[in-house]
C-alpha cells in the first residue's frame, strides 16, 4: 500500500530576536492517519514548530507542506486543512459551549445546517451534549479541554494539532482524553500531531515519536523501535553516599556486560541556567588551554547509541575538576542508571561487585526500557529534570564550540 505523506517538513528553522534558535533545521514527514508525537522538555521548540506549520509564525527559513499545500504559498488552504488545539485555553468563557462551537463553524464557512448537525455529532464523541448550553466558565478543566478538542474537529480537518492536550489535568481526566484522541483518530479518520512532555502519553498514543531537544530532532522512530534501541534492561542503583556513586561510576562502565552507566542527578542538586553558563564559560577557558578534548566523553551519534562517561577514572576526575565547584555539585549524584544485558541474571553479580567495593547501596530497581530511559539516553537527562546532568553540559559545551567553529571530538 502506498501511503501519502500528509505533512512534509523541510529544514524548518525559527530564530527569535536574531539570537534564540527555537527550532533548528528540522525535517520530517507524517503519514496520513498517524498519531505523531513531539516529545520534548519545556522550551524544546514544540509549540514554535506547530505555530509555523499552522501559519501563525513565519519560519526564519525552511518550508513545509500540509495536505499538499505550501505554508508560504497557500496559507489559506493550510488553515482549512488543520484544526488546532492550543496549549493555552482559547475558549471564550463568557460564551456557552454551543456558542463557541457555532462561532468556530461560521469562521470555517459551514452552513447553518452543517453546523447544527456537526455540533451534535461531535458533542456525542466528547460527551458534552448535556452541558453545551452552559457558560464555559462553569466547566471543569477536563470539560474545557474536551470542548476545545471538539471545536478543533468541527470543520472536518485532515490534520489535528494538539499542543499538550492533557497538560495540568488529573490522571483520570488524562486517561479519558487519551481515549477520545484514539477514538477520533480511528472514527473521524484524522491525522493527529500532538506535543507532550509526558513520556507515558507519547507511549500510549503515538505511532511514531520525534524527540526534540533544544530545537533539534534527536530521535525519530516508532514507539517500539525507540524502546528497542535500548537492548537489555535498565537497572537503577541508588547509593547511600554521593561519593560512593562517583567512585562506582567508572567501575561499572568498565564491565563488559554493562552497555552504559549514566549518573542521574537528583532533586537536591538543581543547577540553574545561569550557573550552567558560568560552568561553560569556565570550561571554555580550559579548552582554550588545550588538553580537554581527550577528556570529553564520547557522544557520537544521537540516534540511538548511548553517550558514555570517560572510562578512565583519572580522566573523569580531571573533567570534574575542570568544572570547578559546580562540577562537584553536579557530580553530587547518588543514582546511577545502567543498561545491562540480561539483568535478571547479572543482578547478583552486580550486587556482589558493589559490595566488594565497600560501598553501601540504598536501593536497586530494575525495569524494561521505557521512553523515559530513551529520553535520558538521547538527551542526557530526565525529561522533567530542569537541572543539567553532566552529559547535557558536555552536549551544550560541544554545541557552543561547534558554533564557534571549533573542532568536535569524536
Amino acid at each position: 500500500m502506498n501511503r501519502i505523506s500528509i505533512i512534509e517538513v523541510k529544514e524548518l528553522t525559527k530564530v527569535f530576536n536574531g539570537s534564540l534558535t527555537a527550532v533548528d533545521n528540522i525535517s520530517f514527514t507524517v503519514e496520513e492517519g498517524e498519531i505523531f508525537g513531539f516529545l520534548g522538555p519545556n522550551g524544546a521548540g514544540k509549540t514554535t514548530t506547530l505555530n509555523m506549520l499552522a501559519t501563525l509564525l513565519r519560519p526564519t527559513s525552511g518550508t513545509a507542506t500540509i495536505n499538499g499545500h505550501d505554508i508560504h504559498k497557500d496559507p489559506d488552504s493550510v488553515r482549512r486543512s488543520i484544526g488546532f488545539v492550543f496549549q493555552d485555553p482559547t475558549l471564550d468563557t463568557e460564551l456557552t459551549g454551543r456558542e463557541n462551537l457555532d462561532f468556530h463553524g461560521r469562521l470555517y464557512g459551514l452552513t447553518k445546517k452543517e453546523r447544527k448537525e456537526r455540533i451534535e455529532e461531535i458533542l456525542k464523541v466528547v460527551q458534552l451534549t448535556d452541558r453545551v448550553d452552559a457558560f464555559v466558565k462553569t466547566y471543569s478543566g477536563g470539560m474545557k479541554r474536551r470542548l476545545e478538542i471538539a471545536r478543533g474537529l468541527l470543520h472536518y480537518p485532515k490534520v489535528l494539532f494538539l499542543d499538550e492536550p492533557t497538560l495540568g489535568l488529573d490522571p483520570q481526566t488524562r486517561r479519558a482524553i487519551w481515549d477520545y484522541i484514539l477514538k477520533l483518530n480511528q472514527e473521524q479518520n484524522v491525522t493527529i500531531i500532538l506535543t507532550t512532555h509526558y513520556t507515558e502519553e507519547a507511549d500510549h498514543l503515538c505511532n511514531r515519536i520525534q524527540i526534540i531537544d533544544f530545537g533539534k530532532i534527536v530521535a525519530l522512530d516508532t514507539t517500539e523501535n525507540l524502546k528497542a534501541t535500548l537492548k537489555g534492561d535498565v537497572v537503577g542503583l541508588t547509593f547511600k553516599e554521593p561519593s560512593d556513586a562517583k567512585k562506582m561510576l567508572p567501575r561499572l562502565n568498565q564491565l563488559e556486560w554493562v552497555q552504559s552507566a549514566l549518573p542521574v542527578s537528583g532533586t537536591n542538586n538543581q543547577v540553574g541556567m545561569s550557573q550552567m553558563m558560568q560552568i561553560m564559560q569556565r570550561m571554555r577557558g580550559m579548552a582554550g588551554g588545550g588538553g580537554m578534548d581527550g577528556m570529553m566523553p564520547s557522544m557520537a551519534g544521537s540516534g540511538g547509541s548511548l553517550p558514555s562517561m570517560p572510562k578512565d577514572p583519572e580522566k573523569m576526575t580531571a573533567v570534574m575538576k575542570a568544572m570547578g565547584e559546580h562540577g562537584e555539585q553536579l557530580m553530587n549524584f547518588r543514582q546511577i542508571q545502567l543498561l545491562v544485558d540480561n539483568a535478571s541474571q547479572r543482578l547478583p553479580e552486580l550486587v556482589k561487585i558493589v559490595d566488594g567495593s565497600g560501598v553501601e547501596l540504598e536501593s536497586v530497581q530494575m525495569h524494561k526500557p521505557t521512553l523515559d530511559d530513551v529520553f535520558l539516553s538521547v538527551t542526557g537527562r530526565r525529561i522533567r529534570d530542569e537541572s543539567g546532568s553532566m552529559i547535557q553540559m558536555f552536549r551544550r559545551f560541544r554545541t557552543m564550540r561547534q558554533a564557534r567553529g571549533g573542532t568536535t571530538p569524536h
Partner: protein, 261 residues
C-alpha cells in the same frame, strides 16, 4: 491575502454584543458614573457658569459627559485585543482561514456599537434630567448624534486596537489611562468652552480629536457650536473627526495585521 469575510465580521461583532449585554454590571456602573457627573457638576457648578447656551451648564456639559463614556468604552474595547490575543478567542480566530482585516473590522464595529449604546443610554439619562430642550430640532438632532457617536467610537476603538497591537504588556494599561485617556478627555471642551480658555490651552484643545467629537455632538443636541470655528464650524468638525477616525481605523488594522500571533 484572504478576502473580507462577512461571517468573520459577524462572529466578532456578535461576540462583542453578547459579552456587552451579559456584563450588565459594567453598563450600570458606567451609566451611574455619568449620572453623578451630570447631577453634581451640572447642578453644582451650574451657578458659576456664565458662558455659552444662556448659561445653562447642565446643557453645556451633557454632550461632553456622553463623549466621556464613549471615549473610555471605545478605547478600552480596542485595547482589549491584548487580552484577546493572549488569553483566548482571537488566537483561535487567527488560525482560522479568515483575514485579520475581517477580524479587526468586526472588532471595531462591535466596539463602536456597544460604546454607542452606552452613549445613547446616557443621552436618555441626561434628557430625563432636563439637559435638553425638547423640540423638533432636538428630535432630528438625535439621529445626527447617534451617527456622530458611531464615528467617534469607531475612531477610538481603532486607536485602542493600535495601542493594543503595539503594546504586548497589559501592565501598560494604567499608563494608557493616565497619558492618553485623561488628556483627551480634559482637553475636549467638556467642562469649559474653548473661547474662554488661554491661547496655549486653545491650541492644545484644537489638537485633541475628541474636541471635535464633543463640538459636533453638542451641535446636534443643542444647536450650539463654539464661535471660534466660525460659520463652517459643523463642517470643519465633521471633516476633522472623520479624518481622525479613518486614520485610526487604518492604523489599528495595519498594526493588528502586522503583529505575529
Amino acid at each position: 491575502m484572504q478576502p473580507i469575510s462577512g461571517q468573520a465580521i459577524y462572529v466578532v461583532l456578535l461576540r462583542e454584543l453578547k459579552r456587552f449585554w451579559r456584563a450588565k454590571a459594567r453598563i450600570i456602573a458606567s451609566i451611574a458614573q455619568s449620572f453623578f457627573f451630570l447631577l453634581i457638576l451640572g447642578f453644582g457648578i451650574g451657578g458659576l457658569f456664565g458662558g455659552a447656551l444662556g448659561g445653562n451648564y447642565l446643557t453645556y456639559i451633557a454632550p461632553g459627559i456622553i463623549a466621556m463614556s464613549l471615549l473610555f468604552a471605545s478605547v478600552f474595547s480596542g485595547v482589549s485585543v491584548i487580552f484577546d490575543r493572549q488569553f483566548g478567542f482571537f488566537k483561535e480566530m487567527l488560525v482560522a482561514p479568515v483575514s485579520r482585516t475581517s477580524i479587526i473590522t468586526g472588532k471595531i464595529l462591535g466596539g463602536a456599537v456597544t460604546a454607542s449604546i452606552q452613549g445613547i443610554l446616557i443621552l436618555v439619562v441626561s434628557t430625563v434630567l432636563g439637559a435638553f430642550f425638547i423640540d423638533l430640532r432636538f428630535a432630528l438632532g438625535i439621529f445626527g448624534a447617534i451617527g456622530v457617536m458611531l464615528l467617534i467610537t469607531a475612531g477610538f476603538v481603532g486607536l485602542g486596537v493600535a495601542i493594543g497591537s503595539a503594546l504586548t504588556d497589559f501592565h501598560a494599561f494604567q499608563l494608557i489611562t493616565t497619558f492618553v485617556m485623561w488628556p483627551l478627555f480634559m482637553l475636549s471642551g467638556v467642562f469649559f468652552p474653548i473661547d474662554t480658555a488661554p491661547l496655549a490651552l486653545q491650541i492644545a484643545m484644537l489638537l485633541d480629536p475628541l474636541f471635535y467629537g464633543v463640538e459636533l455632538l453638542r451641535f446636534c443636541l443643542t444647536g450650539y457650536i463654539t464661535p471660534l470655528l466660525g460659520l463652517l464650524g459643523p463642517l470643519i468638525t465633521l471633516g476633522v473627526l472623520s479624518g481622525f477616525s479613518l486614520a485610526m481605523i487604518v492604523l489599528g488594522t495595519y498594526l493588528f495585521s502586522r503583529a505575529e500571533a
